[in-house]
């Protein structure tokens, strides 16, 4: 990256932030998610937030996403000023930092993951409803990776 592109990026981010702030509806709440039971201090915690059945676990439709160093434990994610509504969270520990959740040749995840409500699915991930929670006032959630 050329040095002179840095300010541009900064400006872009700043205006995106301004836009986001301007877009908050009147009832907004903060969501704090504490992620525990990591296997190690390696890599990153990758967390995604969804707000509907239709968008759940669809990368192009996620409502928000954050990542944190796994060396900071527990991992505490904060989403500020979220509109009231129903949400679900998925998170995994990208332990080897290869940018994806690894699975073995049988398709079984080999990195730890979790969902809000500590939901577990049947024959696959949980449904949005299993993982969903209501947000009207600020609240805190705990997820234990499995």
């Amino acid at each position: 990256m050329k040095p002179k592109s840095l300010p541009k990026l900064a400006i872009a981010s700043a205006s995106a932030l301004l836009f986001a702030v301007a877009a908050i509806p009147s009832q907004a709440a903060d969501l704090t998610i504490t992620v525990k039971n990591l296997r190690s201090q390696n890599g990153m915690l990758m967390l995604a937030l969804f707000n509907s059945t239709d968008s759940f676990l669809k990368p192009e439709k996620q409502f928000g996403a954050q990542m944190l160093q796994a060396s900071q434990q527990p991992g505490v994610f904060v989403f500020k000023n979220l509109p009231a509504g129903r949400y679900a969270v998925s998170v995994f520990q990208d332990e080897n930092g290869n940018g994806k959740m690894d699975s073995n040749m049988l398709g079984i995840p080999t990195e730890r993951y979790g969902f809000s409500n500590n939901a577990t699915g049947t024959m696959g991930p949980p449904s949005f409803e299993q993982a969903a929670f209501s947000l009207s006032d600020s609240r805190e959630l705990n997820i234990d990776l499995r």
Binding site: M46, A48, P59, M67, K100, P109, T110
Partner: protein, 502 residues
């Protein structure tokens, strides 16, 4: 981009695969097994062999006789040990968390240590002070959904020493790495990144050149994974084969040219699993499938041949070899059906005895040119068959095995050498008050493959409630042990072991 990858995987249903079914498999209303077992102790001395061992052990043994120089080294043995945690007693002998036993033999002294294998599952449950996951044959209310086969991994079946590393083996998941001296658990063995938590069975076969062959089966996926590992401990090759109606397979054999599998018609029913059966109880017996025989070219796994034998069940294979005409000879321990797995090895856990099947040696001929397999049964009680390891894949005459059953208790009371060509058996009986466990052949250094050597193995003294290690001359079993080492305590009845020369 990173998140996208994760979500794509998740959306594709890769997360929490079939094993999450086990979460539903917990409809047990009340559980009286621990109480039943405790109540049975007074009446039946054999019960002591199935007690839960929840602590590590260490002691010097009391020696009688003299251990020959050939057996200076370490006998490792593995087996289920933690049968109960909190109030929850497991419902199957094979469920217990593994304990590795290490008998160090040297200078006519035997030092024993036994350590519970600290699998991820054991550590989580020990920290919680109670069972968290369903096991192979046990379900209970409120169990967590396992996230992979290793969520159930108790590493309790066998042991392989490989290039300075000790592997505690199970059937349904990873091998566990242990320190060969201290038995400290180092963690799951990952042969290759995409093989993490992929089943690695408990009976790898070690070729005479040191190459280790093994397989692993994922019942829900109808997949058999084959492994070829060098004597240096490095993976040479691994591949997943799709096998329709894959069966529960515990053991196999290798010849010079082939890997040989016997598939008893015990197959997996996804619907039963979905509706709450334990992993074991999701298996169904389909005798109409016969015993399928799969012969795989060692060096080209795409070259495979299927043959058929009459329906029957087995855990253990002795050995296999090929004659000049290309006919494969293989022997195994045969029962008519799998009731031992569903009844006998379950009943013992609540202090009940049943012997629902006869275990006899089967000799099989597999004529790959004609596509025909046939077998004959030798009516000799047997289990835990072993051979001179130098004859793996070569013609062998002798099987060393446990034998002699008692009318009122499980297990065997004698160790035998059977000549499978003549059917002649030589044995040593420990007596009705003792349970003979697996015994292992240890060669006399410098002798030819197949020549007489030594037999080492353990027995459980039901009166004194101690475990003994005995050593015999392999060709003079009836003379009794040349040396014995008596521990000051009993070890829970174990499964398989291996000897490592000093």
């Amino acid at each position: 981009m990173q998140r996208r990858n994760f979500l794509r995987l998740a959306g594709a249903g890769v997360l929490t695969p079939l094993f999450s079914q086990l979460a539903l498999a917990s409809q047990q209303a009340s559980d009286t097994w621990a109480a039943e077992f405790a109540n049975a102790q007074a009446a039946s001395p054999w019960i002591a062999a199935y007690r839960s061992a929840n602590r590590d052990l260490a002691a010097d043994a009391e020696i009688s006789g003299r251990f020959p120089a050939a057996v200076q080294g370490v006998l490792y043995r593995n087996g289920p040990a933690v049968h109960q945690l909190g109030d929850q007693r497991y419902h199957h002998w094979f469920d217990g968390d593994g304990m590795m036993q290490r008998f160090a033999i040297g200078d006519n002294k035997v030092r024993h240590i036994g350590k519970i294998i600290r699998t991820d599952k054991y550590q989580a449950e020990a920290a919680a002070g109670k069972r968290l996951f369903t096991a192979f044959g046990t379900t209970f209310p409120g169990a967590l959904a396992p996230t992979s086969p290793d969520s159930l991994n108790v590493a309790n079946t066998s042991v392989l020493a490989l290039n300075g590393e000790l592997l505690a083996l199970w059937e349904g998941g990873s091998a566990y790495r242990l320190d060969p001296d201290t038995l400290q658990t180092r963690g799951p063995k990952v042969w290759r990144d995409d093989l993490a938590a992929v089943p690695f069975s408990a009976h790898p076969r070690v070729d005479t050149d040191g190459t280790v062959w093994n397989f692993g089966i994922s019942m829900p996926d109808d997949v058999m994974v084959l492994y070829q590992i060098g004597a240096d401990g490095n993976l040479r090759k691994a591949e997943a084969l799709k096998i329709p109606q894959i069966a529960m397979v515990h053991d196999f054999a290798v010849t010079d040219k082939h890997l040989v599998f016997l598939l008893p018609p015990l197959i997996f029913d996804r619907d039963k699993f979905k509706h709450g059966s334990s992993f074991l109880d999701a298996h169904i017996w389909r005798p109409q499938l016969g015993m399928r025989v799969l012969v795989v070219d060692k060096h080209d796994w795409s070259k495979r041949q299927w043959l058929e034998l009459p329906a029957g069940f087995l855990f253990h294979v002795g050995n296999a070899w090929e004659d000049a005409q290309g006919v494969i000879h293989i022997d195994y321990i045969h029962t008519d059906q799998p009731s031992i797995l569903f009844q006998d090895t379950r009943d013992v856990m609540r202090g009940q005895f049943s012997r629902s099947a006869l275990h006899h040696i089967a000799r099989v001929s597999i004529d790959t040119a004609k596509g025909k397999a046939s077998q004959e049964l030798l009516p000799i009680d047997s289990e835990f068959p072993r051979i001179d390891p130098r004859l793996t894949g070569q013609r062998h005459q002798h099987l060393y095995h446990a034998t002699e059953t008692q009318a009122d208790r499980p297990g065997f009371s004698a160790v035998a050498r059977t000549n499978i060509e003549s059917g002649k058996t030589d044995k040593y009986s420990y007596g009705a008050g003792q349970i003979a466990e697996e015994h292992i052949f240890v060669p006399e250094p410098g002798s030819a493959a197949g020549a007489a050597g030594w037999i080492v193995g353990t027995s459980f003294d039901l009166q004194k409630k101690i475990t003994r290690l005995s050593c015999f001359a392999s060709d003079r079993l009836a003379d009794g042990p040349v040396a014995q080492a008596s521990l000051p305590y009993a070890l829970p009845l174990g499964l398989h072991g291996n000897f490592v020369k000093a």
